[in-house]
Amino acid sequence: MAETQRVLDVRVIPPREKHPTIFQTFAALAPGESFVLVNDHDPKPLRYQFEFEHAGRFGWDYLEQGPAVWRVQISRTGA
């Protein structure tokens, strides 16, 4: 049976709302939970921000890497 996966598609979100929305969504995760981020470009700057602000407490796994859509599974790995 298919499992429901949380998806945050930020393509529809205006730029200045994107990162706050992503980090608020991440903050709402319990350890071990995750969501799939969908974007129209490789969110490398976001990863750098995660590494700076949440080092060692997040997982980052590419599920799809372009050319039109990038999907990244972002997980909370620690308290």
């Binding site: 298919a2 499992e3 429901t4 996966q5 949380r6 998806v7 945050l8 598609d9 930020v10 393509r11 529809v12 979100i13 205006p14 730029p15 200045r16 709302e17 994107k18 706050p20 929305t21 608020q24 969504t25 709402a28 969501f35 799939v36 969908v38 974007n39 129209d40 470009h41 796994d61 599920l63 799809e64 050319p67 039109a68 859509v69 999907r71 599974q73």
Partner: protein, 239 residues
């Protein structure tokens, strides 16, 4: 994790209404969706996509499975015809008739009784209609308009309700996203993600006055999105 594993999940899908390109044929709409990473398409009955809501379209067999998410109908009194279209295109009728929400619920039930899927479209502040769809079977579609709705408040109401929407029609986005700055689209999308919403979110224009902007956006090279990817000098300005 391999991309193939996505097939094991039920995922929220972002899509496009044919209202965003009312003069574009189905093949071009499908091509735009698939090439730009959108995985759902709403067909509005009056647009130029060429799909009759009464007959089995010749193009049906070539459509990617599940691409058509909804059949938007402003006039839903012919339940038998629309039920037939829903079955042929394997998508629910989005009952968008004028009048009260209760009327749209009745029309949707009539289509369902004729053998086709149908979702009454709920518009305006959620407090005005949410009680009426709590036990709605088989479900309902929610039209979200950030121009008239408090997105955070309504998202909390809707997603905590007994029955979450099966389909979301999002007014704006795309080239109109810049106009919605500060209206909280992010809080809506964040709430949908945390709630595990696994239906379609279909983008539709807020007004025909933005037709040129949407057409330009659909024809852009370099991907879809909110405009953050690259500065595109060819994009039509909205203000």
């Amino acid at each position: 994790m391999a991309r193939a594993d996505l097939a094991d999940w039920r995922l929220m899908r972002l899509g496009l209404s044919s209202a965003a390109a009312a003069d574009v044929e189905l093949a071009d709409l499908v091509q735009a969706c698939t090439q730009r990473g959108l995985s759902a398409l709403e067909l509005r009955e009056e647009d130029a996509h060429g799909v009759a809501f009464a007959d089995v379209p010749a193009a049906q067999t070539s459509l990617p499975a599940g691409l058509i998410a909804g059949l938007y109908a402003r006039e839903s009194t012919d339940a038998v015809r629309l039920a037939r279209a829903a079955v042929a295109l394997r998508a629910p009728v989005i009952v968008a008739d004028e009048g009260t929400a209760a009327r749209r619920v009745r029309l949707a039930r009539s289509i369902a009784a004729s053998g086709g899927g149908a979702l009454p479209l709920m518009r305006g502040p959620a407090r005005d209609w949410l009680d009426g769809v709590a036990d709605q079977d088989p479900g309902y579609a929610w039209e979200v308009d950030p121009g008239i709705t408090d997105l955070a408040r309504d998202a909390d109401l809707v997603l905590r309700a007994v029955r979450a929407p099966d389909y979301i029609r999002f007014i704006g986005g795309g080239p109109e996203a810049a106009l919605q700055e500060g209206r909280g689209i992010g809080v809506l999308m964040g709430r949908l993600a945390l709630a595990g919403y696994d239906g379609a979110v279909v983008l539709a224009p807020s007004s025909p006055r933005y037709r040129v902007a949407w057409s330009s956006w659909l024809g852009r090279r370099g991907g879809w999105g909110c405009g953050s990817k690259v500065a595109d000098a060819a994009l039509v300005r909205l203000y």
